[in-house]
């Protein structure tokens, strides 16, 4: 069989075998509806609440503050729109950053059309939001600040605790999209000082289609999905028990060896970066060099468009992602690179390598061995590359 190397763990991850094992009993045996009062339902309910407790424990939250959703996108939408709708009387101003995931950005754009005012904070060339910019932007009408923890494209980590402190001082709710940081580093909602935090199971070896929103006690928020009294009436819909059990189990697993895995991934990415830059000229790291999650490298290969590299790697069984316009569907290159001031052609030339549990140093060596030839072949074809 052809060798397959997956270097796109920020897009999604395979379900961990123990996660799947934990989920299986709830498809056919413990399949009840957690709202039913008979034994079938109670069994599901117990699993649901145990999962909630587990998740709360790993986030240093109270189980009553954990709400299960269908994923990161729903969590983000619920946080942003939910707070906006519920706090109309206080104001109609929301602050976010230019580098958020589309789930936050598009929620904000939707609210903008509804008459809300949105401030999109700029970032510096490393991708960091400026403390003073945030401070200046908060005003009487501000009801929410939403700034992501780790950026999905770059891996940059924002100093959330500090930024959230500014919001808290002014009595403004703070939400963070922790979809990319959860599972890759310690998450403590109190240390982070946030009122809401989004996460998505499939980013940390859990199943797709399930996520959670941490909502600190006391936060006023209108539901996105109305219906039954599930999730304390904040998120209606029959609970996806196998998925929720899987989410909790996945969180448990990533926590069981987090520091070790952090160190391992950091070493893999560092080795990869070192070898790539040794063997290929004109490669640039995008985003902050240090404030980053351990698994992610965003590199620009001058003179070569991202998709054309992806396709060549794909032909060798290697899966990576790019922020190039031609793969994004929007036909615009990465809004994150644009916000960081990366010039258009370098933005078009960017590739994201995101490592994970399945990767070893062998994978690094394999990719590093193939990449130079691919890049030089493409550069030979490029009208804008001069050695």
């Amino acid at each position: 069989m052809e060798r397959k190397i997956y270097l796109d763990h920020n897009a999604t991850t395979p379900v961990h075998p123990e996660v799947l094992e934990a989920m299986l009993p709830f498809y056919q045996e413990g399949f009840g509806n957690a709202s039913s009062i008979h034994s079938f339902g109670r069994e599901a309910k117990v699993a649901l609440e145990e999962s909630r407790e587990k998740v709360a424990r790993f986030l240093n939250a109270d189980p009553l503050e954990i709400y299960f959703t269908s994923g990161g996108t729903e969590s983000d939408n619920l946080a942003v729109k939910g707070v906006a709708w519920a706090n109309k009387k206080k104001g109609n101003h929301i602050i976010t950053s230019q580098i958020e995931h589309h789930a936050v950005l598009e929620s904000c754009k939707f609210l903008e059309k509804e008459g809300y005012e949105i401030t999109y904070l700029p970032v510096d060339r490393y991708g960091l939001v400026d403390h003073d910019e945030l401070k200046k932007s908060i005003k009487k009408e501000t009801v929410l600040v939403s700034i992501m923890h780790a950026n999905n494209e770059m891996g940059i980590i924002q100093p959330i605790a500090e930024l959230a402190g500014l919001a808290k001082e002014k009595g403004v709710y703070f939400h963070t999209d922790a979809v990319q940081s959860t599972g890759k580093m310690k998450i403590d909602v109190n240390e982070l000082n946030v009122d809401m935090l989004s996460l998505s199971a499939h980013k940390f070896y859990g199943p797709k289609g399930v996520g959670a929103l941490y909502i600190r006690r006391g936060v006023r928020l209108t539901p996105l999905a109305h219906g039954g009294h599930h999730e304390k009436s904040r998120r209606a819909g029959t609970e996806n028990v196998p998925g929720i059990v899987g989410l909790a189990k996945a969180l448990e697993i990533v926590h069981s060896d987090m520091q070790k895995e952090e160190r391992r991934l950091k070493s893999l990415t560092e080795t990869f970066f070192k070898k790539v830059t040794e063997r290929i000229p004109d490669v640039f790291l995008n985003g902050h060099p240090v404030l980053r999650i351990p698994n992610t490298l965003n590199l620009s290969f001058k003179g070569v468009e991202g998709e054309s590299i992806i396709l060549n790697l794909d032909l060798k069984g290697i899966g990576v992602a790019s922020g190039s316009a031609c793969t994004s569907g929007t036909l615009e290159p990465s809004h994150v690179l644009s916000a960081m001031g990366v010039p258009g052609d370098l933005a078009q030339s960017s590739l994201r390598f995101s490592f994970g549990r399945s990767n070893s140093i062998d994978d690094v060596d394999y990719v590093v061995q193939l990449l130079p030839e691919i890049i030089s072949k493409l550069r030979a074809m490029s009208p804008i590359y001069q050695k």
Binding site: E305, S308, C326, T327, L331, P333, P383
Partner: protein
């Protein structure tokens, strides 16, 4: 997004990559939609395109259409070459994914620019 086998074949083995020294016409075009850039060189003899080469900074579709158009245009009269449309390139590649149709514009536009360039040079020399 799924490319046809033909697209992938041209992407993997692009024909006529490079530059023509002292070309008779050059067409350079940047795709304002996605930032791709293509440079197409032609050699013309007796109103016939006898050689074509390209350099492209772009996605799989951009490279494949570039390669395909250099094949399509070779040994065509200028008149015939001018008739090569965006559509004909896409068809020759057994189609392109819907969200990549804009890339096929690149190659056809670059060719037409190169022919125009050739004609302008000729006019100047006359």
């Amino acid at each position: 997004m799924a490319y046809s086998a033909k697209v992938m074949e041209h992407f993997q083995n692009p024909r006529n990559v490079g530059e023509i020294e002292n070309p008779d016409g050059v067409g350079e075009i940047g795709n304002p939609v996605c930032g791709d850039i293509m440079k197409l060189y032609i050699r013309v003899k007796d109103d016939r395109v006898v050689d074509a080469k390209f350099k492209t900074f772009g996605c799989g579709a951009a490279i494949a259409t570039s390669s395909m158009i250099t094949e399509l245009v070779k040994n065509k009269t200028l008149e015939e070459a001018e008739k090569i449309s965006r559509q004909s390139v896409a068809e020759a590649l057994d189609g392109l994914p819907a969200n990549k149709m804009h890339c096929s514009n690149l190659a056809a536009d670059a060719l037409h620019k190169a022919i125009e360039d050739y004609k302008n040079r000729k006019k100047k020399n006359e």
